[in-house]
């Protein structure tokens, strides 16, 4: 049967009017053109990444070629006026600020997610969930403002000094990453089938036992994703950190001592920087871009891992 040629010339019963129409050239081209136009639009995302890479990279490249990658990445001192462009203290500053914020924010965020997904009565939930979403919507400059005027004096009382420093930044950033981590963790918890919960309760487990021994382990990879994305948000956060961290480009000396990060230093210096100093700021943007890309890549690899294991 497969060998039988497909013919379109068998006698028609009802005459020509009923002949099957062939695909019209006009329709075909219209549909194909539209499809390609949409593809082009989708490709704008790729173009965006490429453009960022090219333009920021082009501006920042000389810092690697002329000052040297080693001096730039591992230099211990950031003194642009003296031609010292070592960003290690800034990089360490970014990491200190980010890790502290994660340590403070993650437990609250995961706790809030568990609360929303497993514990909260519907009424309470309908208040807490919008609150979490709104927390994500508050502009970072408002957080910075709040930190500057409210948190900073409190921290100053605790640590001495002016209150500019990592501790204030940790608290503010922790608040800022709570919505990111909480929302994604809640998604991960919600995707666990109800049967799993019922099975656990049916065996006499308490709510806490169900959460700690069944649900959190089951949502583990989703929570890791959430933390990584929260980390991306924290490391890239600029204005709020800038306004409370003190902007002293040295190594970490204490919770209440001024510090600087990659992002905050860029904003501080950009308005007046010129020459190699300006190039160095673009170089720092390349590093930030690569770090954020690396985090996204990690999340994708994790999700592929999850697909393979399940």
């Amino acid at each position: 049967m497969a060998d039988e040629p497909r013919t379109n010339d068998m006698p028609s019963v009802r005459g020509e009017a009923n002949n099957l129409k062939l695909v019209s050239r006009a329709t075909y081209f219209k549909e194909a053109t539209l499809k390609n136009l949409f593809l082009l639009c989708a490709f704008m995302a790729v173009a965006g990444v490429a453009l960022i890479f090219v333009f920021v990279g082009y501006r920042g490249w000389p810092i690697f070629s002329e000052v040297g990658a080693g001096n730039f990445l591992f230099g211990m001192e950031w003194l642009p006026t003296k031609g010292l462009f070592g960003i290690l203290p800034l990089f360490v500053g970014s990491i200190v600020v980010t890790l502290g914020a994660l340590l403070l924010g993650t437990p609250v965020a995961v706790g809030a997610a568990v609360f929303l997904s497993e514990i909260a009565p519907p009424k309470i939930r309908s208040v807490v969930r919008p609150a979490v979403e709104l927390l994500a919507g508050v502009p970072s400059v408002v957080y910075g403002f709040f930190g500057l005027l409210i948190l900073r004096p409190i921290v100053a009382d605790l640590t001495g000094g002016l209150g500019f420093g990592p501790l204030t930044a940790w608290i503010i950033l922790a608040i800022m990453i709570i919505p990111t981590i909480a929302t994604l963790t809640e998604d991960a918890l919600q995707s666990i089938p109800d049967g799993v919960r019922e099975a656990s309760y049916a065996m006499g487990a308490t709510t806490w036992q169900t959460i700690s021994r069944v649900l959190l382990p089951a949502a583990k990879i989703g929570i890791v994703d959430a933390i990584i994305l929260g980390m991306g948000r924290a490391i890239g956060e600029t204005m709020a950190v800038l306004m409370v961290v003190g902007n002293a480009p040295g190594f970490f000396r204490g919770m209440g001592e001024p510090l600087s990060t990659l992002t905050s230093q860029i904003v501080m210096d950009m308005p007046y920087a010129s020459g190699m100093h300006r190039t160095a700021l673009f170089g720092m943007a390349i590093i930030l871009f690569l770090v954020s890309m690396g985090l996204v890549l990690t999340v994708r690899l994790l999700s592929r891992l999850r697909e393979e294991t399940s």
């Binding site: 379109n8 068998m10 009923n18 099957l20």
Partner: protein, 274 residues
Amino acid sequence: MSHTLAEHQPGFVPTADACVKIAVRGLDFFYGDFQALTDITCDIRDNSVTAFIGPSGCGKSTFLRCFNRMNDLIIGTKVEGLITLDGQDIYAPGVDPVDLRRRIGMIFQQPNPFPMSIYDNVAYGPRLHGMKKKADLDEVVETSLKRANLWKEVKDILGRGGLTLSGGQQQRLCIARVLAVQPDVLLMDEPCSAIDPTSVQKIEDLMAELKSTVTIIIVTHNMQQAARVSDETAFFLQEVMGEPAMLVEFGRTADIFTSPKDKRTEDYITGRFG
């Protein structure tokens, strides 16, 4: 006039029989590597109601979707063999599946009115195919709704959303929507399984009225329904899980239900009736 598998022999070429609307010869269907249907051959008669019956997952709906090439929309599907409409191969290279679907209408299990007014639902098809004048559209909407026996219920609320109607009304709206593009063939994929029993009666009556002008093929799980509405019946069966389904028996509905030739048909029908 009864068609059995005996007619299917190597080298058989469908004749341009005035009674045959759709002819199927040696049809195989694949979802990727999985073969869902094997070697199906049958003739669908003009201006009649043909019912496809068989247990769930036996490929009836898949087969139905071959007639208007709806399966083309699913990536990785493949059709081998021949399906002709009025003697012309609908899978021949260059044939426009979009135009084919205008001529072979389809009603789905779930009533699926578009989220727009009743009027716009019915006028959707004619508008797609270039009808613009308000007077023409008004006329098509009215005749189509009348043919679908829905006009009396909705003539004063044409501007209301199609989704505000009851399930049974929604299904008749979908039928009116299809009739508005004047198809030769109407494919119905379990059209009554998601609506209330009183509406089922209305749709069955409607099928009896429509078959004088339209060839109807209906997939149904309901044996009584197949016996009530159809002139001919095809019984499909997937004998082994993972193996393709096939057409076991095809003939006049009265014959299939009273004196099936195949033991498997008899088992299924007596099982379902008993």
